[in-house]
Amino acid sequence: MARVLLRSLNKMFDATHVVKDVNLEIRDKEFLVLVGPSGCGKTTTLRMVAGLESISSGEVLIGETVVNDLPPMDRDIAMVFQNYALYPHMSVYDNMAFGLKMRKFERAEIGKRVQAAAEILGIQNLLVRKPRQLSGGQRQRVALGRAIVRHPRVFLFDEPLSNLDAKLRVQMRVEIKKLHNRLSTTAIYVTHDQVEAMTLGDRVVVMRDGVVQQVGEPLELYNSPANRFVAGFLGSPGMNFAAVRVSGEKDSLRAHKPGFGIEVPPELARRLAPYIDKDVTIGVRPEDLRLANGSDAAGLCFEGTVEVVEKLGSEILLDLQVGDQTMVAAVEPNVRATRGDKLRFALRPDRLHFFDAASEVAI
């Protein structure tokens, strides 16, 4: 058990600056997820914590110790890799026992620990098999088992579920969460899948181009994204964005563009005041677009033409044409809509997001 601290961490590959001044504290027993598109530096950050990548500048602390110059074996960590990295010439038992053998544990103790881990993961009957005789999900379990037998201070996960099919991925996601609840070891988990990030993380770190964009609890990130990138990255389907112009007087502001316009709710007007006669980006999540009914404030309604209807069962996604803009609305499954319908939608005033057009920072 230990906390992990990253202090102004930087990584340069020749002239490319891959990780830029990352400062993070992963609390003891916390499950922290690093998420971002490929090439955002999340894996490199994880590998620096693991000791597989040298640190260009900054510090990594595990517990109270600076581990910059410690080899991976002395950092007391365990890592689960995307391609499982099981040793193909060893049985499942030997795969799991390898780390303990290297650390010169007693035979009896090794047997006990491997058995215990195998029981937790439900792979007792696979111990004599070779990795090539296992399915993807079983291999992933063995990889997890190999990590937990060691009782390390920190678990590192590098996209462990990416090679599994969709159904198995959901199942293993739940298992990883359960495992963490049971072992409560500090864990750092890297993924490019925002659903994994939201469901697994106690806290989530969104990264882009080597820079941390926002750190927070999943819903905090979802409900109040710090910038347009975070807003667009989390959630599926993604947030709708529209470039609009703010105009009007202090208390009655309008955000509009050809074919689309709303009255800015008073609670947001104060924040938007500096942007009068300037361009901003408005962001609305698909589930915050509702079909309008009589009680909705007229100023927050607009009209859209249905282009595509995607029936998902639990909800219906409507691809809309609003002016020169496309938007996606997630509506109740009982809505009857067909292509070409003109529908009126209402926005929820407390669920509107505005971003600075140039810096993309939330307003």
Binding site: A85, Y87, H89, R146
Partner: protein, 283 residues
């Protein structure tokens, strides 16, 4: 497999394959037939009425007996075996370490060093034997097995290094990284994880190296002179061709017996060998 009509399969698959197999195996067949053919049949003119070039009606072991009794063939076999084995062990060991280093470690000039090693392999032996013979003489190694054991690696090490480099590159890095996180040093990760996984590659490098040294001719011809030190290829050709007299029966018997060890090695390790060349590593 070729799809479509039956004739297509014959024209594009079975017939070409058959031709290939016949062309490939005919020299071996000829070697076998000649080594058991009595001299009276061997030197019979082609227009004689009972001329049978492709088979014999009176098989005999006299050539093999002559070869074993009157020449130093068994000594040559032993020399070849000893030289090939030691040269192979040295070359595979060096190739293993060099291949690992070139494919896995980041050090300055790793790329150019790899290319450099490859270029040395491209220098033809027919050029290299001249400076090498000077070196052999200076070290007073001429006419000893060590003349070959130490010169064969000049072409075997580059070969093994390149073959193993390719093989190591196909082994996922994560295996090693995982081992190092699991508590292994770089050296232990290499010995316990990378080398066992690379066994097919190592085996095929060893088989190749062994075959190349077993068949090597020019260095053996130049560096060895006394009959008792010779290897099979040189011994057979220098002792059984006297002037313009070819002892065909014994020559072929020598070639046949000389190729048996290589054939045995190939048949035992053919699976490793194929896996080694196709580089099939599965995590």
């Amino acid at each position: 497999m070729i799809e479509g009509a039956r004739w297509r399969r014959w024209v594009f698959f079975y017939i070409p394959l058959g031709v290939f197999v016949v062309v490939l195996l005919f020299p071996f067949y000829w070697m076998m037939v000649t080594s058991v053919r009595p001299d009276s049949e061997l030197y019979r003119p082609w227009m004689a009425p009972n001329y049978t070039p492709f088979w014999t009606l009176h098989p005999t072991l006299e050539h093999i007996q002559h070869l074993l009794a009157e020449t130093m063939f068994s000594t040559w076999m032993w020399n070849t075996l000893f030289i090939s084995t030691v040269a192979t062990i040295i070359s595979v060991f060096c190739g293993l370490l060099a291949g690992y280093a070139l494919s896995r470690l980041n050090f300055p000039f790793a790329g150019s060093l790899g290319t450099g090693i490859f270029i040395t392999y491209l220098v033809p032996q027919t050029l290299l034997f001249i400076p090498l013979s000077d070196i052999i003489r200076n070290f007073r190694l001429g006419d000893t097995p060590w003349a070959l054991i130490l010169t064969y690696p000049t072409f075997l090490i580059p070969f093994c290094t390149w073959l193993l480099m390719g093989y190591f590159k196909a082994i996922p890095r994560e295996l090693e990284e995982c081992a190092r996180i699991d508590g292994a040093t770089r050296w232990k990760a290499m010995v316990y994880i990378v080398f066992p996984v690379a066994v097919p590659g190592i085996m095929s490098a060893a088989i190749f190296a062994f075959t190349l040294s077993w068949n090597e001719f020019i260095y053996a011809l130049v560096f060895l002179s006394s009959p008792a030190e010779k290897t099979v290829p040189v011994g057979v050709t220098s002792e059984l061709i006297r002037g313009d007299v070819f002892f065909w029966g014994q020559l072929m018997a020598g070639a046949l017996l000389g190729s048996i060890p290589v054939a045995i090695i190939y048949s035992f390790f053919v699976e490793y060998y194929v896996a080694g060349l196709t580089g099939s590593v599965k995590g």
